[in-house]
Symmetry: C2
């Protein structure tokens, strides 16, 4: 019967009808005896409409003014949601990021939250009011409006939950939870009742776009229990929690994948200290993010070096690598922009051996060639040809019996 | 070369193109050596769009939340105008009503300004920046967003001009100044170079909707010189000033009229103390605003009582009056909803006699019957049949030679 923070995204508040449906859900939560804080995004389409207005003027508007513009989107939603709550007899009050004092640094368009003054909100909650807060926005110490970047409403919700020591932070979205893999690729994919923060971080960073990665990090840091639920269907969703004993049983939580990868290889570079920096320095100076990095064992006194980038950055990265190649006197540069990354994620991996071999065997059985391998404590990633994506996901889903209710 | 406050209304900022045109005008003002503060309204249509969203939920939204909703309209404009100023190389910064600390009382949707903290704005001006402020909105001492009611952007501009001791407050609108009467009724109507605050107040309250009456009152109270100009044409507009010697010459500044009037009469009520209250009390309790009130000389021990109301309120006012009539034992109730009010306005009236007789003579010459007369120090109003409106305006315009450049 504690305090619940609920967050509804743009699709969930995309029309007056949907806002009214959200009001019903919020009121029902309060009627169960909870105090409720609601964080909302702009109505879907609104942010894009505002961006289009700005772009009619110019392509690089001042970030300070862009934040003034975009923050109106959530402000419209908080007012409308309060009206809808009043209409059904609930007491509610709205706050902008500035009013509730979501203090951030001054990095416009990607500000980071520094603190929240929960005093005013606490007063409303004690008076029996539902508090409705504009997500995605804050205010710096000079009173300038800031935004947290796209998807920042999740972060607002988690930060509010942390500041108010909420019992749970519920993220309502258009999916009903976190799945073992994308159900569009593997129809047998199963919704998880629970997943750990670490696993969720790996899933999120690998393209399972259920939650913003910053929000998950934030929740982990401040021990805020997070739950992902559907705005449109009933259900318990998926609880993202801290590791507990029962969870050790499940070795693998899910299979994440990322379609938008490309890989580049430079062959026959001198195997000497500093060579990795010589190769990756120019790439990172061009603001290209590098994902996986692999250096093969040296043959003679040269070595081969492979890394992956986002597919959009492939042409530019290839140009840079060719220049580096001629400077270093490398033998050859090659690349492939038709690859994908497949990852097994699970905290259970830590204490169970044989996961990697089961994975490689399952892929081999389907004739899928592995181009790169990279491992972390709770994840094994492989790079394969793009055409094998669906086949690979299904093979691994079967091999680890993820559709079944019982752990392997 | 002092500080100028400029205000641009919804039509003037109704599209990106128009916002860019405003940016050019603002920059040109700065280049003449002025410091410039700009106050803007919501883009035309935006406020109505937001109201429609609220009304999809219910017809009587909470005023606090309505203010949160509506204030986003101006916030969008300030951001876009700053972007347009940056684009043409001007330095500019935007402020919401809350950021600039336009402090108001907490009467949501019709808040009154209590004070303005000009410190931050002064700093920007000294640094050579153009300051762009959201009109129509403020903040109460609890940090709640308030609005000043429709047209409140004029008030914001005047209040900023008063707080910053501006040289002039320029209201840009879709007309190029204040005219002797409505040019659509009398094509010979002439633009006034100057008009006094008192005359402007009478003109504004009588339906010459160039400026909000509260803004004019405010400007008069704080001695802020106001100028009305066109956003779309060049010109000096009309300066609204304090009385000066030269102005005494002109007896009449203009002719205002109001189409939306209706009159009600109660005949044969007892001529005794308290009867006016017995009649008007129930009307005002029904939130109906009464304009002119006339009580005729008593015959025997009864009297007749006539008043005017807005035409929309006529049916309800008539109902109320019939009830009052039976309570008071009056002889009869009658009414006419096809009337208009015509007013001569001019400070010169004070020191010149014969104005009223010239007015009545001009109307009589055209066969126009006068139904009611009411006078104030700088105004004579008559109520006439609706069908004589245009004829009456032209007759008076001629009789007082308002089309000529010379005073009568």
């Amino acid at each position: 019967m504690g305090l619940i923070v609920q967050k509804y995204g743009g699709t969930s508040v995309g029309s007056i009808e949907r806002i009214q449906a959200v009001a019903q859900k919020v009121k029902a939560t309060q009627e169960k005896g909870h105090q409720v804080v609601v964080v909302v995004s702009a109505m879907s389409g609104e942010t894009n409409r505002l961006i289009a207005l700005a772009h009619e003027i110019g392509t690089s508007p001042a970030p300070r003014e862009m934040d003034v513009l975009l923050s109106t989107g959530e402000q419209v939603t908080i007012a409308l949601l309060c009206m809808a709550l009043h209409k059904i007899g609930a007491s509610a009050r709205s706050y902008t990021g500035s009013q509730v004092q979501i203090l951030t640094d001054n990095a416009h368009s990607k500000a980071r939250i520094r603190g929240i003054d929960g005093v005013r909100v606490s007063g409303d909650l004690q008076a029996g009011r539902i508090v409705v807060i504009a997500g995605f926005q804050g205010v710096d110490d000079q009173g300038n409006i800031t935004t947290l970047g796209r998807g920042g409403s999740d972060t607002t919700a988690v930060a509010m939950a942390a500041a108010l020591k909420a019992q749970e932070c519920q993220i309502f979205t258009d999916v009903d939870g976190v799945y073992t893999t994308d159900p569009r690729v593997e129809p047998k994919a199963r919704k998880l009742d629970r997943i750990t923060f670490e696993e969720m971080l790996e899933m999120a960073s690998l393209g399972s776009k259920v939650l913003q990665i910053r929000a998950v990090e934030f929740a982990g840091k401040y021990n805020v229990p997070l739950r992902v639920l559907s705005s449109f269907e009933e259900g318990e969703g998926t609880l993202i929690t801290f590791e507990d004993e029962g969870m050790e049983e499940a070795k693998i939580s899910g299979i994440a994948f990322n379609r938008d990868e490309a890989k580049l290889t430079i062959l026959g570079v001198p195997d000497e200290p500093g060579v990795a920096y010589s190769i990756l320095g120019p790439v990172s100076n061009a603001n290209i993010e590098v994902d996986m990095i692999i250096q093969n064992i040296a043959e003679d006194d040269t070595t081969d070096f492979t890394f992956t980038v986002h597919r959009n950055d492939y042409p530019q990265a290839l140009e840079i690598l060719k220049e580096t190649s001629s400077i270093l006197g490398a033998r050859e540069v090659s690349g492939n922009e038709y690859i994908v990354k497949l990852s097994l994620v699970g905290v259970g991996m830590r204490s169970h051996s044989g996961i990697a071999s089961t994975m490689f065997e399952a892929l081999a059985r389907e004739g899928i060639n592995i181009l790169m391998i990279s491992t972390s404590e709770i994840k094994i990633s492989v790079v394969i040809d793009e055409k094998y994506l669906e086949l690979g996901v299904r093979a691994l889903h079967d091999a680890f019996n993820l559709a079944g209710e019982l752990p392997v």
